[in-house]
């Protein structure tokens, strides 16, 4: 492609950009784009403008809108379809019908002015025109660059330069031109990126990230060309030094721009330099090796457990004392035990009440002697005495145990002596109620 362009002379003109910066003062027919239009098509137009600026300066027309390029393309398409007879202006306008005829006519003039369209036979009243193929090729080339950022084209260009300077019949002049061209390319790249990195937001920088991608191989390729040139024509060391400086500047710009992006990505965890689908397809479509290669150069800390002798001693001591560690068997959720009821103090009120009623047996009071006589031995008697005392002290039971001075002594009996005492019902009413 470059070959074609170069042959047509367009490329050569591009190699010599205008010295001044006031590129254009006149717009095409006063067609002034609004800011909104420009913003939408800025990405496309930027590249077109850069390349067409030279042409536009000479022809007095400037591409200010992406639509104008569509018109150009439509005109050239019409010429391609027209065959060997060529087209008149009217025919071309008719073929580009969807576009404004005036606009088409204007662009036609522009194209004719810079030689993309010329008269079939160069005579004053010739109406038929033919189109050169080189501008069309260049248009396609530009279109692709606008879509893909021009990175691939840059690689191709570098490869071509490499081939050029390696050719056996290449002269020092070829080498010088090559090196100068590369210097300029990388200066442009570096300047654009440095300005972006210094002054724009991270989002803007992300949009221009294609300038960052593949820069390593770009620089490497350029360095190869540089090495060949320096090797073959040592007298070009001045130019080579300039190229080296341009490469280094570009590398620095890439570093600072990438640094800003990474800083941004680091704070937001945004891996948004690539669309999500790209990450996914990489993850799905890669071999184990290439996936593993992502972590090449990373060292993971793998701390190992540490056992101090103190811990060992402690563990051994513990092991001697602890019993087997048994895991309780798993139980279904529903079978969990009911929580224990609130503990209530034991109360033997009922038993004591029954005992008292049995002892009294409808009587108002009984003597302790009588009660103890009813027991079998001293143990039973002692329990009976304890029960009687408990009944006496129970706050809810209406019985009382009263001791008096008498003492019965019986040598042969089981309790050999018994103090006189009576066990009495205190409250008749309550007792009646309970019964």
């Amino acid at each position: 492609m470059e070959e074609n362009c170069r042959r047509s002379g367009l490329h050569a003109r591009l190699d010599n950009p205008p010295a001044g910066d006031g590129i254009l003062s006149r717009m095409t027919g006063g067609h002034e784009p609004t800011l909104d239009q420009l913003a939408g098509d800025a990405a496309v137009v930027r590249l077109y403008r850069q390349v067409f600026a030279v042409l536009a300066r000479e022809s007095g027309a400037m591409i200010a809108d992406v639509d104008l390029l569509d018109v150009d393309e439509a005109i050239l398409d019409a010429f391609a379809d027209a065959g060997r007879d060529g087209l008149t202006v009217e025919q071309a306008v008719a073929a580009c019908r969807p576009f404004d005829p005036q606009l088409v006519g204007r662009r036609f003039e522009v194209l004719r002015e810079y030689g993309a369209i010329s008269k079939v036979v160069d005579r004053p009243n010739e109406r038929f025109h033919r189109a050169a193929f080189a501008p069309y090729v260049m248009l396609l080339f530009l279109r692709r660059m606008a879509e893909r950022g021009g990175q691939a084209e840059l690689h191709q260009l570098l490869t071509l330069e490499h081939v050029n300077v390696q050719a056996t019949d290449a002269t020092a002049a070829v080498g010088r031109t090559s090196v100068n061209r590369l210097t300029r390319i990388f200066r442009h790249l570096g300047n654009e990126l440095a300005i972006l990195a210094a002054g724009s937001t991270a989002e803007q920088l992300g949009e221009h990230a294609q300038l960052l991608w593949g820069n390593k191989s770009l620089i490497t390729q350029a360095e190869e060309v540089h090495a060949v040139v320096l090797d073959r024509w040592p007298e070009l060391d001045g130019e080579c030094a300039t190229l080296r400086i341009a490469l280094a500047a570009y590398g620095d710009a890439v570093e600072s721009a990438a640094g800003r992006l990474i800083e941004q990505a680091g704070t937001t965890r945004a891996l948004g330099l690539l669309p999500v689908e790209s990450w996914l397809s990489f993850a799905r479509g890669s071999s184990t090796e290439s996936l593993a290669a992502v972590l090449d150069g990373f060292v993971f800390d793998a701390p190992a457990p540490w056992f101090s002798p103190h811990q060992l001693t402690e563990a051994v001591e513990d092991g001697r004392h602890t019993g087997p560690v048994r895991q309780p068997p798993p139980r279904p959720e529903s079978a969990t035990a009911e929580p224990d009821p609130q503990p209530v103090p034991a109360d033997d009120r009922e038993q004591l009440h029954d005992l008292a009623e049995r002892l009294l047996a409808d009587a108002r009071s009984v003597t302790v002697t009588g009660v103890l006589d009813g027991t079998d031995d001293w143990m039973a008697g002692r329990r009976m005495l304890a029960d009687l005392t408990a009944i006496h002290h129970h706050p809810d039971l209406p019985y009382a145990l009263a001791w008096s001075d008498g003492l019965r002594v019986d040598d042969a009996g089981s309790p050999s002596w018994v103090s006189a005492g009576t066990f009495t019902r205190v409250s008749e009413d309550e007792d009646e109620d309970e019964r």
């Binding site: 457990p305 002798p309 060992l312 051994v316 092991g319 087997p324 560690v325």
Partner: protein, 169 residues
């Protein structure tokens, strides 16, 4: 520190003690531990006293978590008891011992467990220790020997371990 040394330290840090051939380069600050058969050399970092892993303990920080830390420590103690044949001498390289011996020693310090549970605990602990370089475990021969990491214990710690060694059945 040269780049080469730094690389060695990174390797040790990410992969534990490094096993190299005896004639390989010898980075600064590493202890060389020659294997009993002299076929290989372990490189163990020589850490200053205030940078050793037990500093974590002194600072009250939790160290690297180990599954069943108690059992693992007991199995390591059993391995020490079986493999450190000369407790008066250096701990490395020690001798190799059969897994059964280690199991017997382990049983002696954990007496109330049933055999299956104890065996599972023993095997799990030995594998864990082998993975982190504390012991070497030959699964086919069922033999156990000490790993290069035991050489990281300093003299004071070794004397504590000698006490432990004597106290163990």
């Amino acid at each position: 520190m040269s780049d080469d040394d730094a690389l060695w330290w990174a390797k040790v840090r990410s992969g534990g003690p490094q096993r190299v051939t005896p004639d390989s380069a010898y980075p600064a600050g590493m202890t060389r531990l020659v294997e009993p058969d002299a076929r290989a050399v372990w490189l163990l970092p020589d850490l200053p006293d205030n940078a050793r892993p037990d500093v974590l303990e002194e600072l009250g920080l939790s160290g690297f978590p180990v599954d069943q830390r108690g059992d693992t420590a007991r199995v390591l103690a059993s391995c020490l008891r079986c493999c450190w044949s000369e407790p008066s001498g250096p701990i490395w390289p020690g001798t190799s011992a059969s897994l059964d011996d280690v199991a017997a020693s382990f049983r002696a310090i954990t007496d109330t467990r049933d055999d299956r549970a104890r065996h599972a605990a023993l095997l799990g602990a030995v594998r864990r220790l082998a993975a982190s370089g504390w012991v070497g475990f030959d699964e086919e021969q069922r033999t156990v020997r000490l790993g290069p990491r035991v050489a990281a214990w300093n003299a004071a710690e070794l004397s504590t371990l000698r006490e432990l060694w004597r106290s163990m059945p």
